[in-house]
């Protein structure tokens, strides 16, 4: 088991190193002629107005919250799914009630309009 994680570790290093080395080599080969116009923020030729790190809609935050709820919940469900074949009916009904509560929460968010893209 530990050796599997060793492989994952080595593979991660390789997966990061391959593109990094390629970009480094390309950087050596590529011409470097910077000038202020070339480095300006690209907005289809129009000069940028004001700060570029602008304020963002609250919308994204709401979706992130909804995502967080469902992601944590599905991670909670994975151990249940692994044990599913050995579980008695009681445990399955428990999980179904858990899912039903979540579904209720989803419908609540829906009715409140949190899931509408404005």
């Amino acid at each position: 088991m530990l050796s599997a994680w060793l492989y994952i570790g080595i593979f991660t290093l390789v997966a990061v190193a391959l593109p990094a080395i390629a970009i480094f080599l390309a950087g050596l080969l590529a011409p470097k002629k910077p000038n202020p116009i070339k480095e300006a923020t690209y907005e289809c030729g129009v000069e940028t107005v004001g700060p570029t790190w602008t304020q963002l809609r609250i919308q994204y935050y709401l979706f992130a919250l909804a995502f967080l709820i469902f992601d944590v919940e599905s991670v909670l469900l994975y151990p249940w799914a692994v044990a599913y074949q050995q579980l008695p009916l009681f445990a399955i009904v428990e999980a179904i009630i858990f899912l039903a509560i979540l579904l209720g929460g989803l419908f609540y968010a829906w009715r409140k309009g949190a899931l509408n893209w404005q």
Binding site: M1, S3, A4, W5, L6, Y7, I8, I10, F11, T12, L13, V14, A15, V16, L18, P19, I23, A26, G27, L29, A30, P31, P34, P36, K38, E39, A40, T41, Y42, E43, C44, T48, T52, W53, T54, L56, Q59, F63, A64, F67, F70, D71, S74, V75, L77, Y78, A81, V82, A83, Y84, I92, I96, L99, A100, L103, L106, W110, L115, N116, W117
Partner: protein, 409 residues
């Protein structure tokens, strides 16, 4: 000892191990050397495969759109992607003024790494797999999230409003679609009782596609959205967001975002084939593991061709349609299906396999019919505008106004 033609990769692995042990290398180092060679070979093969894939996709999309596609460089244009790679390799790397340099350079690397790292756990045949992780699916989901971090990094560090907006919109889409994806990936885990991808493959006496067609459909659609391909290609909506999070990138850094996208596209078809289409399983795959490669490749290619066909035929969705499809159709449907399948499959535990397949197929078909009715009734209830504005329709007979030109129609 297996014969070479039965399982060439295991054969070579054993040969290498014995050779190193014979040379007196300690056993732990043999493992490290073997893993390093395996990882470098697999990652390089995956990246080289992208070159072939680029050609295939451009050619097929060309044919779908009634064009020829690349046909100048090499036979059937086969060398076109190589020419493109060489060209992009020598292009200047422009770093925009005011960019945050560390995340700006890290983003393309991470985005490729995230797509590559999935390949570490895919079982390619009965005996050949990177790592047999007992938390395989959780690893897949976790690694998938690294790609989203790369997109946020790219958008945030570019010092460009469009890049930032594009990145946030992309991430909103990606995290939303990972919810039904995670939920429908629970179904194969339930059927096989394991998170290990190899164990899931072994458990598919019957392909899980036939036991759970609707979760498979949700998983496939969600993974197309996860990759950000048409019809879900809002991340690179050229007409609205310039090009999204990759506006300020040039040269190979820009190229790597595209490499990551293509690699991810094949990776999700690979994952779909493993989870729902039986992975390397097929006649003779246990005895001759080399056949497993062929089966897995055929299955994932079929899924990939389906994705190309989708890209060639469907127009792009609007962002609100994408979000509605996810949160108002897929997520509740995935939750409901999970409940129904959990309950139905409990009562089918002792049943014959054929009965089990039939009942689960029936349940899925019923759920699909009910969903279809619900959606179409909602469509009918939707309010129509009171007065439709009268606009000329762009038809040949309307293009020329006879009163203006004086031409009698």
């Amino acid at each position: 000892m297996t014969a070479f033609w039965q399982d060439p990769i295991t054969f070579l692995r054993l040969w290498l191990e014995n050779l190193l042990l014979f040379w007196g290398v300690p056993e732990g180092w043999v493992l490290v050397i073997r893993y390093t060679i395996g990882a470098v070979l697999l990652a390089t093969a995956a990246l080289l495969f992208v070159i072939l894939q680029l050609w295939l996709e451009r050619k097929l999309i060309g044919r779908l759109q009634d064009r020829l596609g690349p046909n100048r460089v090499g036979p059937w244009g086969l060398l076109q992607p190589i020419a493109d790679v060489l060209k992009i390799f020598t292009k200047e790397h422009i770093t925009p003024a005011g960019a945050d340099r560390v995340p700006f350079n890290l983003a393309p690397v991470l985005s490729v790494a995230a797509a590559l790292m999935v390949w570490a756990v895919v079982p390619f045949s009965a005996t050949v797999f990177g790592a047999e992780l007992n938390v395989g699916i959780l690893y897949l989901l976790a690694v998938g999230a690294i790609g989203e971090i790369a997109i946020i990094l790219a958008g945030w560090s570019s010092n460009n409003k469009y890049a930032l907006l594009g990145a946030l919109r992309t991430v909103a889409q990606l995290i939303s679609y990972s919810v039904p994806m995670t939920l429908s990936a629970l179904v194969p885990v339930m059927f096989s009782g394991s998170l290990n991808l190899n164990a899931i493959t072994r458990a598919q006496e019957v392909w899980f596609l036939f036991l759970a067609p609707l979760p498979a459909l949700i998983f496939l659609t969600a993974s197309v959205a996860e990759v950000g391909r048409a019809p879900f290609d809002l991340p690179e909506a050229e007409s609205e967001l310039v090009a999204g999070y990759s506006v300020e990138y040039s040269g190979l850094k820009f190229g790597f975002f595209y490499v990551a996208e293509f690699l991810k596209a094949f990776t999700v078809s690979l994952i779909f084939a493993v989870l729902f289409l039986g992975g390397w399983r097929g006649p003779g795959a246990e005895a001759y593991p080399v056949l497993g490669f062929v089966y897995l490749f055929l299955k994932s290619s079929a899924v990939y061709l389906l994705m190309i066909l989708l890209r060639g035929t469907l127009p792009r969705f609007r962002i609100d349609q994408v979000m509605d499809l996810n949160w108002k159709v897929f997520t509740p449907l995935a939750l409901l299906l999970l409940m129904i399948i959990a309950l139905v499959d409990y009562f089918l535990r002792g049943a014959l396999p054929l009965v089990r397949v039939m009942v689960l197929l029936g349940v899925n078909a019923l759920a699909y019919v009910i969903l279809d009715r619900l959606l179409s009734s909602r469509e009918r209830l939707r309010r129509q505008p009171v007065a439709q504005p009268v606009r000329p329709v762009a038809r040949p007979e309307n293009l020329i106004n006879p009163s203006e030109t004086g031409v009698a129609s």
